[in-house]
């Protein structure tokens, strides 16, 4: 496979975007077909490139002019994240009705995400990420300019931070190429910038950030594609940080802080979910909850934890693809997707959470406390999911039965693929080995079980029979009575102090300059003075400059 082929996963969606834009006069259907083809082609190209060689491939086209070269590198971890990002994106572009403009911009955003993932150096990753974030904002405005969308600044900040981290690496170690940066160059400060990029790039915050708010828009077309692509891209940065640090973060306390942050994110999401007044608001929290657990697992700093994080990201990807396809009405599809996201055994999310929590316990020290908090959070997630079944829809979106069926199938896939978690581990072993050392005996001794420090997870032997028994038993069972929405609306609990914080925030927002002092802060008057071309101001400035320089 010639190295130039590494451009294919990026070029194909761009070409498809060109086709989609060119076919604008022929109606949106052609653009939709082009969009779907472009996304699937990119995914196919990644798969073919990896399967053909099954080892890291690199392409260096030469310097671009701003201190970085067009260095592309497709290694195992890039393939894993590429698949996690592209599968739901391709599904959504295939199933959702889009205008040609949205399709075109979505394809360009997908190409940017693939560029960021395939990039061999940090600055190019920042360029790709910033492009994807900008195009996401553009998509939001194309979809519905009146609806709430992430502020542009909030999605750009992380990529500026990453670019800064990249240039700092260049200054301190002479390069920002992932494979060439010396281990000692990853200082706490640089890692801090990378961590900021990772957390803010996908809005992984304990409070209700844009990553949750975007799911409350009237239409979920853009929110779903954005979540599907930006979430894995952001956490991908932490995985690359492991590669830079030879499998470690600069300080072990950084692992603990990030893991605790992940649990806080999941807990915040669960607390909001258990008080959600509608199913739509509950569903808006599901991806964020999974992201929190994925962050916790990845941050632990072990191969098992990283694998658990990947499993949870995979689950989040499928849930992200399912959410916008759900109809408003209650039914098996909503129940299955909620159950899949909540981590009902023996689902994929269940396996990922169990592995993550087990790994945290086995890491010891304060990670054990983080694990207890994580387990408690998981129960709150379960309670919120249970409560959500009886909630009112909360949105007036129409989704066809066919789409609801696809959503149900995606939910079933998450629930049914728990037994395959060990097989996935044996597939991901090479990818994980590329960024950190594997435990002695590897991640999975065989495709049926995963080895942790103190236990072994018999995924196939235990979850397989449980899945079969469960499927048979549920098929033979009789559904219970339906709930009344009125009962379900009450939150399970309220966090003390939240009301006080909200009141304080409102008070801060309502602060204004007193009337009698407003004239002092009149921007229009200041502008008139500055832009009036007044010699007195110029002379005063000249004197000020002279004083400033001659002191």
């Amino acid at each position: 496979m010639p190295p130039i082929a590494l451009l294919a996963p990026i070029v194909l969606p761009v070409a498809a975007a060109a086709v989609a834009a060119a076919s604008s006069r022929l109606g949106d259907q052609i653009a939709r077909i082009a969009a779907a083809s472009g996304a699937w082609a990119s995914l196919g190209a990644v798969a073919v490139l990896w399967i053909a060689v099954r080892s890291t491939q690199e392409l260096s086209v030469g310097p671009l002019g701003f201190g970085v070269g067009l260095d592309l590198r497709l290694d195992g971890i890039a393939v894993v994240f590429g698949v996690i990002a592209l599968v739901p994106a391709a599904l959504l572009l295939t199933l959702q009705e889009r205008g040609w403009q949205e399709s075109t911009v979505a394809l360009l955003a997908i190409a940017a995400v693939v560029l960021a993932i395939e990039s061999g150096n940090m600055i190019l990753t920042a360029v790709g990420g910033c492009t994807a974030a900008t195009l996401a904002v553009v998509q939001f405005d194309i979809e519905d300019v009146r609806a709430a969308r992430p502020s542009w600044a909030s999605v750009i900040i992380p990529w500026i931070a990453l670019a800064w981290a990249g240039v700092t690496l260049q200054i301190e170690s002479g390069t920002a190429v992932y494979a060439a940066v010396p281990v000692s160059a990853l200082t706490t400060q640089i890692f801090g910038l990378v961590a900021i990029a990772a957390l803010l790039g996908a809005g992984i915050v304990p409070w209700r950030g844009w990553a949750v708010g975007m799911w409350m828009r009237p239409s979920l077309r853009v929110a779903s594609v954005t979540a599907a692509t930006l979430l894995p891209l952001s956490l991908y940065l932490l995985v690359r940080a492991y590669e830079l640090g030879n499998g470690l973060f600069p300080q072990s306390w950084l692992n603990l802080v990030l893991a605790a942050w992940g649990v806080l994110v999941a807990l915040g999401s669960a607390i909001r979910a258990q008080a959600a007044p509608s199913r739509a608001e509950y569903m808006a929290e599901t991806v964020q909850g999974l992201a929190g657990f994925a962050l916790m697992s990845i941050a632990i700093g072990t191969a098992v934890g990283l694998f658990a994080g990947l499993i949870l990201l995979g689950s989040a990807a499928l849930v992200t693809a399912a959410l916008p396809l759900l109809p408003d009405r209650r039914g098996p599809a909503a129940l299955l997707v909620a159950a899949a996201a909540a981590g009902i055994p023996p689902g994929l999310a269940f396996g990922g959470r169990v592995l993550g929590l087990a790994d945290a316990f086995e890491t010891g020290n304060a990670f054990g406390l983080v694990a207890v908090a994580g387990a408690a959070t998981w129960l709150v997630v379960a309670a919120a999911a249970a409560r959500s079944v009886g909630l009112p829809a909360g949105r007036r979106r129409q989704a066809s039965d066919a789409l609801a069926l696809v959503a149900a199938v995606l939910g079933v896939m998450v629930l049914a693929s728990g037994p395959a978690v060990a097989a996935l581990a044996s597939l991901a072993t090479d990818a994980i080995a590329g960024v950190m050392a594997l435990p002695i005996g590897g991640l999975a001794a065989d495709p049926f079980s995963i080895i942790t420090v103190s236990t072994r997870l018999p995924a196939a032997a235990l979850f397989g029979p449980l899945l079969l028994l469960g499927a048979a038993a549920v098929a033979l069972s009789k559904p219970g009575p339906t709930t009344t929405a009125a009962q379900s609306r009450a939150p399970l609990f309220t966090v003390p102090g939240i009301a006080v914080l909200t009141a304080m925030r409102e008070r801060l927002r309502s602060l204004k300059v007193p009337q009698q002092y407003r004239s002092l802060f009149d921007p229009a008057a200041m502008e008139a003075v500055a832009a009036g071309g007044r010699p007195v101001l110029w002379l005063a400035s000249l004197v000020a400059l002279a004083v400033a320089v001659t002191r």
């Binding site: 701003f66 405005d141 542009w152 750009i156 500026i160 670019a163 921007p523 002279a546 320089v549």
Partner: protein, 405 residues
Amino acid sequence: MEPELAVALPAVGAACATAFKPRPRLAFASAAALGVAGVVAVILSRADLTSDQLGIPLTLSPASRAILLAAAAALAILVALPPPRADRSNLLRWGLGGLAGMTAMAAAPSLGLGVIVLLLLLVLQASGTGHRVYANRFRAPALAVVLLALAIALAAMQGPSLLTRLIVVCLVAGLAAALGVLPYMHEFDPDEPTAVSPIPWLAFVGPVLAVVVVGRAEAMVEGAEDAFGALLIGLGLMNIVVATLATWRTSSDAAAWRYSFIADWGLALCGLGLVVPDGVGAALLVFYSILLGRLPLYLWSRQSLREKATTERPINFIVAAALAGSAPFAGFPARILLLRAATSLYWPLALVLALSFLLWLPGSLRLGRTIGAPTGRQLIGVAVALALSVAFGLFPRPLLGLAGL
């Protein structure tokens, strides 16, 4: 002979466009032909070739040459795809006149001659029919000329180190006054024709003038290089903060555009003040994005500015992204270079710059809307500007190579 031709041919072209005004076709054809010939002469004027045909050695530095070519390209785009109600031969007349003056400034062997040419340009522009009071049109550029002349005069004397620092002040303040950035903003009338407004100083003549002044300043501020850089950075930061906020909050859309040029100049001044190659590269990329992006977009937005028509179509958001310097547009690599230059010198400055980059966003959204719903030639023009911006944003190396970086 090339530098002489590079100055003379566009000048003659501008003169033809003026002389043949009653016969627009002839005026356009002659001016266009001479303009193209002038650009060819600029292309042939390599840095290692010094011409002495007129008794003074004329050379174009790589940076000046690159910016002259970018300015010529911007003029060509605007003449090929003129804004609504714009007369091509008039565009050519002003553009070629400016180009001739810029080339003369760039090729001049001393700053003194360059300032004399600047003075001539200022008089030519002030002689145009504008809406502002004649004296107001004159004042700020004239102050710039006086300050630069003072710097030259002081540089001819020996004295205490204070003298060198005063030269620094005169150079920086003179440059700021010529450009019309804070605190020396020119008076601005939104209804005034662009050619006689302060915009050409910011968006057409300014880049070459900045390269010439900063290039010549090296010898004049010996011993006070730090003060020179610090003053440029300080003015740059002030312009970034004030102008980005003003772009967002000012009442007039046209004024918002003017502030957005000033904000970009803030970046460029910071880059020039950082003195390391990355900083200069960042400044050059900002100049390219001003000449080939912001200036044409401003001119194409004038019609909807007059009609006060703002739209929220995809093209508006993409233009906003380009104006905000977000990836993949040309502003982003400039910002990356600036970050690297600042980090290598003093990282807190990089932090301030990184935060200031966010200030472009709200104003750019506003400016993007003022483009309206371009159609026909305007739409093609906007698409060309965006395509160029993406090309330079992803692969700026040829541009920086052209400037010898």
